[in-house]
């Protein structure tokens, strides 16, 4: 780390002398600090992603692949109903999950960020939302099994309350259980950023609007919603990244009935169909890239930090 601070000293002297040599040394210092990270990300992230695109055009044999280029795997994907279904399921469950997370998490975030005046209580509530994150992801997924089964806690409570006569069987091992599980696990990634943005809203702005006679709805749509938008965008990016890449929750909670693209990738890799898995991977990447780029057009992430 000592080189870090040396690099800082040089520009100080350089500014006084305002020489070009100092500017060059300053740039060199910056790049020496940046190089390890940039190299790491290039070799371990960019290169593997390019490799995936490349392999998606390789020739797939039963248990091996070779690097003869072909479109076979791509044609197989787009001509097999199972895989197209899986693509549609992925997109559908992603939209449903994201919409539910927004509907459930947004009011919570507004409550914590705006309605709770006491800073200590506000922090405590946020911590309370984040605490489940510190239990292993897979354990949290599997915790839904004793909740949702026919003999599960939800059915027992509903039966005891007399709300239902028969246990609801559709709760576990269906797409509902997958959506419920994903909403519970990922909702905190929406609540956090939105609560953060809402808590930064200058309260005198709201006071002024009310003094001028604005209705609650008007205050919400012209002040709170626009100012919380960066939070919604960041939250949506987080949730989308994680839901689109999901395969553990469907495989643990759907009993094999829900197959997202992630599940197809896992199955294909399991049977050494690397080229085909890569095709699914590239399709997921495109889906993800379009989403992130579209969301980042709404808000500039760098300015919000």
């Amino acid at each position: 780390m000592s080189t870090t601070t040396q690099a800082e000293v040089v520009p100080m002297a350089g500014e006084a002398a305002s020489s070009g040599r100092a500017a060059r040394r300053q740039a060199l210092g910056s790049w020496m600090l940046l190089a390890p990270g940039v190299i790491w990300m290039t070799l371990c992230l960019v290169l593997p992603m390019l490799m995936m695109i490349y392999v998606s055009f390789w020739t797939q044999h039963t248990f091996s692949i070779d690097s003869t280029l072909t479109l076979d795997s791509w044609e197989a994907f787009f001509s097999t109903p199972t895989y197209l279904d899986s693509l549609l399921t992925t997109v559908r469950l992603w939209f449903i999950t994201l919409a539910l997370i927004l509907a459930i998490g947004y009011p919570v975030a507004v409550f914590i960020g705006l309605f709770v005046r006491n800073k200590t209580l506000q922090t405590s509530l946020l911590v309370l939302c984040v605490v489940p994150f510190w239990t292993s992801f897979l354990i949290r997924v599997v915790a839904w099994r004793p909740m949702l089964g026919t003999e599960g806690a939800v059915n027992i409570i509903l039966l005891k309350l007399g709300l239902i006569q028969q246990p609801i069987e559709a709760l576990l091992f269906t797409q509902y259980s997958v959506v419920i599980g994903m909403v519970q696990i990922y909702v905190v990634f929406m609540v956090g950023p939105v609560a953060f943005m809402v808590s930064r809203i200058d309260r005198s702005l709201i006071e002024a609007a009310r003094d001028l006679g604005a209705s609650t709805a008007r205050i919400f749509f012209t002040i709170i919603l626009p100012l919380s938008l960066p939070g919604i965008v960041v939250g949506s990016i987080f949730v989308s990244v994680m839901v689109l890449g999901e395969f553990a929750t469907p495989s643990a909670l759907s009993g094999g009935k829900v197959n997202l693209l992630g599940n197809i990738i896992v199955t294909q890799v399991g049977s050494l169909k690397w080229a085909f898995a890569s095709v699914c991977g590239v399709i997921l990447t495109v889906l993800m890239a379009v989403t992130v780029v579209a969301l980042l057009r709404i808000v500039n992430l760098r300015r919000e930090i």
């Binding site: 780390m1 390890p36 992230l45 510190w134 239990t135 292993s136 354990i139 004793p146 993800m288």
Partner: protein, 283 residues
Amino acid sequence: MERQPILRGLLTGWTALFLVFLYSPMVVLAILSFQSGPEGGPQFPIEHWSIYWYRQLFNLVPASSVAPLPLGGALLRSLALALTTMVVSTVLGTMTAQAFRRHFRGSGVVFYLVVLGMMVPGVLVGLGMALTANYVGIDRTWWGTVFLVHVVYTYPFSFLVMLAIFNRFDRSVEEAAWSLGVSPVTTFRRITFPLIFPGVLSSMLFAFTLSYDEFPRTLFASGGDLTLPLAIYGTFSVEIHPNLFAFGVLTTLFSFALLAVYATLMTLSVRRARRVAVQEEIA
């Protein structure tokens, strides 16, 4: 708006329900971890309360039809991996954030290159790393390929945390030290590091927990030796037993212990910073 009692009441109720939704699976899981064994199943009713499944985790009960979870080696591997990832990712994150304190050409590209690490779904990073390793002809191992992709994931978090810290950092303190002729090393040790310490601590906490619990990236990038999440995932394919629940409770307690250490160190550093500030005021 915050003063409307009906709206406030509704939102309070909604948030309470939300917390119930968030916590109920863990509560049920914790209750069921005290199921009787070895015949008690992973559901209600509790036949009678016992700590059988906790003892089974540590092989303290006679062998039964339920195999113990194969966790010992996996736990050690995950801890070693998380610790190494934590250190490397924090160092990388601090270096990059330090470079971002000054404007340089291409900063936009570098920013998004780093942040990309948390924006690409994990399963794709794992797949890409597996393909690359196969192509280059290196073995996939938990201490090699898995370590590389874990840092890809945690480094962006460390970077963003440190960037946020540096953005709120008063440069004049460092400059004052230099102009008084204090050496760069001493300046870093006595001035810069104490100021950025809360960020370093948060970055370490993030990197450790993310790596310790990381599953999708690990699945394809690892070889034969399992990390903890992989071992847990392996038990999903067979019938689950309350020993998994007992294990879940123990890992959660471990995480809370970790959080407590973090909170203590954080409080101490904030208090120290305040004391220094007060001393300066007096002087």
